[in-house]
């Protein structure tokens, strides 16, 4: 019985091999308040390549990822790349601001305390990074962060910028 079970499991492996990092459809529109006090809307950035990164101060990989996002922003912002970091914490604007003082970033940090946008983008892991093309459709999605992902981000940003 256990042998038959193992065979069943192997079959499922083949079936689930289609786990992909691509995503499709128009990027859901949203407007959130930034740490600079402005209302930022993703729709207004159409025509540019936009990365939306969902993060939280309590999430270790999110914190590890930030400096890499800053590096990518500095490199490609002038070429039409925008980055929006959406903080998903319900009640921690102060904590997030304090953390950003120690690890400053120059891209807008948006706050989604009611998690409306987080649910809109069906965030499944922390962090989640979505890349949106110039035409406003979602192209790539990354679940979580592991060292080395920033290389994939760079490759994908360059491909999207060329469009």
């Amino acid at each position: 019985m256990l042998r038959a079970f193992s065979v069943l499991v192997m079959t499922t492996l083949v079936a689930t091999l289609a786990w992909a990092a691509t995503v499709s459809g128009p990027a859901p529109a949203f407007t959130l308040q930034s740490n600079g006090g402005q209302q930022v809307s993703v729709a207004s950035l159409k025509g540019k390549v936009v990365m939306v990164n969902f993060w939280a101060t309590w999430c270790v990989p999110c914190r590890q990822e930030m400096p890499h996002l800053q590096a990518l922003y500095e490199k490609y912002n002038g070429l039409g790349f925008e980055l929006l970091a959406v903080n998903v914490e319900k009640d921690n604007v102060e904590g997030a601001r304090k953390w950003l003082e120690e690890t400053p970033v120059t891209f807008p940090v948006l706050f989604d305390p009611n998690n409306g946008v987080t649910k809109l983008y069906k965030v499944q892991t922390m962090p989640t990074t979505v890349l949106i093309g110039r035409d406003g459709t979602m192209r790539f999605i990354h679940h979580g962060y592991k060292p080395g992902y920033e290389n994939d981000y760079q490759t994908q940003i360059r491909a999207l910028l060329r469009e």
Partner: protein, 377 residues
């Protein structure tokens, strides 16, 4: 059991789901421990260092020493107080690959009459969107038992541990875990010094001693359930229950409950209460009716019927909150445990002049102190 573990391992190997865990944090801990109870004092340091490298590996190393001064109940009644030092070294490697976390470890323990080498392997994977973690582990130990003052005495024993664990996030405030462990031992399983006593009217005190004889195998099963709950005012409650049984007929229950409460200014307080009870091994007796009464004979109080309770109070203080050079943060910690043991069929043989088997039942208290500093970098 082994076959089932292989099946689960295979199943884990083929599931492609969201991400496995994160490597453990880099840290260094320096612990000073002290045990004082029942005529025994044991002190020493334990140093632990853990460091990530190549973003896939985490290495850990531990140096641990027990300096033993023993005038325990067994020692004072059948031998003389002794001093001994035990040194233990462990190294471990964690490897994070995709969805799996694997770890291997090696521990060596040395004292003048006992050497233990243990190799362990473990694997874990997060599934269900990281709400569940399944882990499996295996350890193999080879020990060499010696006897002080007897250069010709050398016996071996081998241990194998099989572990299976699942931890599950149930709500945003509650985590639970279930764990099973089967252990099999083979070889020389008793203490080469300990003796059993039997009724002997030919002696003044009414009893005589002879060597313990233990079975050459032992197999045990343990299952535990634990939970951790986040209280709305920022505190944590934990509880744990373990059931144990083995082929020596020992049954044991362990229950623990604890509370962790952080306050402003960087202090965190811990309190816990643990209660343990066990029934005796089937070849244990405090006093046998005659010499060589049965095939296997033991008078080790660890195999008797007894209950113990432990109360802990702990305090931790956050230090270096803004960091210092390469150190991100640190804590200063003190834990004090008070343990109480009460035996139901092990008697205090320091009391003489009474008919054998009517000596008072033995009990003792112990205080365990831990003082440690932890750094994260």
């Amino acid at each position: 059991m082994k076959r089932h573990i292989l099946v689960v391992l295979l199943s884990l190997a083929v599931v492609r789901v969201a991400h496995a865990g994160v490597l453990p944090e880099d840290r260094a801990d320096v612990l000073l421990h002290s045990y004082d109870g029942g005529g025994v004092t044991i002190q020493g340091p334990s140093l632990l260092v853990r460091k990530q490298f190549a973003q896939k590996f985490s290495v850990s190393a531990n140096h641990y020493v027990d300096k033993v001064n023993s005038a325990s109940i067994d020692v004072v009644t059948t031998a003389s107080p002794y001093e001994e030092e035990r040194t233990q070294h462990s190294v471990g490697l964690d490897y994070l690959h995709d969805r799996w976390m694997m770890n291997i470890g090696f521990t060596n323990s040395e004292e003048n009459d006992y050497t233990a080498d243990t190799f362990s392997f473990g694997i874990s994977q997060d599934i269900f969107g990281d709400l569940t973690t399944v882990s499996l582990g295996y350890s193999l130990g080879n020990d060499t038992v010696g006897r002080r003052g007897d250069a010709n005495f050398s016996e071996d024993t081998q241990r194998q541990n099989y572990r299976l664990g699942v931890s599950q996030i149930l709500t945003k405030n509650l985590m639970v875990g279930v764990s099973f462990e089967t252990i099999t031992d083979e070889g020389f399983l008793n203490n080469p010094y300990r003796q059993v006593r039997y009724l002997d009217p030919t002696t003044p005190q009414g009893y005589s001693y002879e060597r313990e004889v233990y079975p050459r195998t032992r197999s045990s099963d343990a299952g535990s359930l634990r939970m951790r709950y986040y209280m709305p005012w920022r505190a944590a409650v934990h509880a744990e229950y373990r059931k144990y049984g083995d082929t020596w007929d020992i049954d044991a229950d362990t229950f623990e409950i604890g509370y962790t409460h952080p306050i402003e200014l960087g202090w965190t307080f811990d309190g816990r209460f643990r209660t343990y009870s066990q029934t005796k091994a089937d070849f244990y007796a405090d006093l046998f009716p005659r010499s060589q009464y049965q095939n296997f004979l033991a008078r080790d109080k660890e195999l008797s019927t007894f209950a113990s309770q432990t109360i802990r109070l702990g305090a931790s203080y956050d230090i270096m909150r803004s960091g210092w050079k390469f150190v991100e943060r640190g804590t200063l910690n003190v834990f004090l445990d008070h343990m109480m043991f009460e035996y139901e069929d092990f008697r205090d043989l320091r009391v003489t002049g009474v008919p054998p088997g009517t000596e008072p039942l033995y009990s003792f208290d112990a205080n365990v102190l831990q003082f440690f500093v932890s750094f994260w970098f």
